[in-house]
Symmetry: C2
Subunit: 345 residues, 2 copies
């Protein structure tokens, strides 16, 4: 691509892309490092004093370059790089682009690195498996103390305590514990609300192990559920099973979404499934390819995507089930093994 | 500003800025909502189906507008907004800018909203206090089971379990538990490493309560520390006390940084304090104003900033102490009350 586009090299600023290419770790939301990919194959990771030891210990296949104190990484970049550089136009802000444009001629990388990340290699799948296993074991252990009257925060405390003990180095996202009518919130972070009376509780949970995310949703019940919740649960489960049965390489993401959506539409829940069916999972918990209604790319072996239909009845409750699948030659493998039977506590 | 710059209105896309202006919550890393600020004072929050219920329940002072399924928020924006719009040039990516420029004439907001966020009102300070109190109580409770031989992950499990029980709705950042030589890592997320032999353990921890962050670092010891660790601890504590004693309104962030830095330089640790002294804390755990060596803005009443000197000896250990202070008329208030005595487990 560098040759075709007349680039002397490329700069990578997204922490997830830097981790993917070098193994250099990041705190969520952090920036500051610059990875320079040379057209000659020589790559340099420019870091400040603070990041130097960790980058030296953990980065592979790259020369680690330390800036002087107060020297900006972009100043050091000028000493290393040519003039025409690829850059991540979907990540770099307008301000940063303006600053970098003073020293370089920037050309869009057009999502090339993100596209590579969509196809997982064996080692990456192994890490996602480890991550998912830690999540499932944690939930199994935590459930032993679930009972009517607990608060959402107490449920979160039990799950995350066991996630740490199962090796979670960090959470893959803000774990969501949303009961009753809070189950319709996309941002259903746990609250002091106590749970009971047959309420469905949406648990959307995941961790990172060795830098890779897992992502699973189960909806469980505190007390015997009412019939309308059981009906919605059964519909969501059928929609998910239909999608899991249909998924295969070559299918577009939006086609897979359509399989689950048509099941829910047939049961009268079409208007209450208000998000896409799924998304890719890897170093980021939300990455490509999309398995939503705008997913135009065909799924290919090595993709890891979620399959997560849901039904959200305003002012009532939400139900969602989410598995992660690996697209393989000729079919799929479900990376999630946690039960989908209705669990009542 | 809209009048002076000839804007018909402004669009706000950063989740933190939207939360600040409306109360509409967000998952870290999420985007998708558009807040339109009308020059006539009429504001609209454009959300998709999924976000609608939560936005209706939690947003204030703003009309919530729901898009049709698959309609992009930017399409709906065209029906509401004028042509010349302010936008967050430090947040919006080059790609997104290109898309929005097809329908609008975009003008930089120059960090105006972030600047407002730097000065906390009483209710905001109250939330930061609640958040900090939850963190301190959680650490106090967790410490009761600390003992030599625990792993960093077990330490994290105990702290976070108690954070949830103290009402943490989410963690403010990836809690760092970094022992021994791992203490020099800025990304010192907990590992399976067991702790003992007098090792210092850096605990950099914080939660969110009612949408506002807390941020505290303590360095504790598992077993009796060696003399070089004690010396470094004493130096860091002195540097912090000097900065806490000197902080006042009107002082530039870099001047405050200089107070702590000169103490550490005087003790021969100057080369080992490889980051800025502090940063603002609020809805985001890292926001303005800076109290680092590039902090040119004078501190003003209502700023909440961290004071966190550290010493990092490569291949050996790290020591850091971090308090959050509120700048007030005529002085400061330390929002952190957790002991800085050397704690040995």
């Amino acid at each position: 691509m560098m040759e075709a586009e007349g680039m002397d090299g490329a700069i990578v600023l997204s922490p997830e892309n830097i981790y993917y290419l070098t193994g250099s770790p990041f705190v969520q939301g952090s920036i500051g490092k610059i990875l320079h990919l040379g057209r000659d194959g020589r790559d340099s990771l420019i870091v400040n004093d603070l990041d130097y030891e960790e980058a030296m210990d953990k980065s592979a296949g790259v020369e680690v370059v330390k800036t002087d104190f107060l020297e900006k990484p972009s100043e050091r970049l000028k000493k290393i790089a040519g003039r025409a550089l690829g850059y991540e136009e979907g990540f770099v802000s307008v301000s940063l682009h303006e600053t970098l444009s003073k020293g370089f001629q920037l050309k869009p990388l057009k999502g090339a690195i993100e596209k590579l990340r969509e196809v997982k290699e064996g080692e990456e799948v192994a890490r996602i498996r480890d991550s998912q296993r830690a999540t499932e074991r944690a939930l199994e252990r935590a459930m032993k103390v679930f009972k009517v009257g607990m608060s959402e925060l107490e449920i979160a405390a039990e799950i995350e305590y066991n996630m740490r003990r199962e090796g979670a180095e960090v959470y893959a996202f803000e774990n969501l514990i949303a009961s009753g009518r809070r189950g319709v919130y996309p941002h259903g972070i746990p609250s002091t609300k106590r749970v009971g009376g047959g309420e469905p509780v949406v648990l959307d949970i995941g961790v990172k192990v060795s830098g890779y995310c897992s992502d699973m949703t189960r909806t469980i019940f505190f007390g015997a559920p009412a019939e309308e919740a059981v009906s919605a649960y059964v519909a969501v489960r059928e929609a998910q099973e239909a999608a899991l049965g249909a998924a295969k390489p070559g299918m577009k993401g939006k086609e897979l979404d359509g399989v689950a959506r048509s099941v829910l539409q047939g049961k009268g829940y079409g208007a209450y499934f208000s998000h896409g069916l799924g998304h890719g999972v890897g170093i980021a918990v939300h990455e490509g390819p999309s398995a939503g209604p705008r997913g135009e790319d065909p799924l290919v072996p090595g993709n890891v995507v979620t399959v997560e239909p849901g039904v959200y009845l305003p002012k009532r409750f939400g139900i969602r089930l989410e598995d992660m699948i690996l697209i393989r030659e000729g079919g799929i493998e479900n990376l999630t093994s946690f039960t989908k039977d209705m669990l009542v506590f």
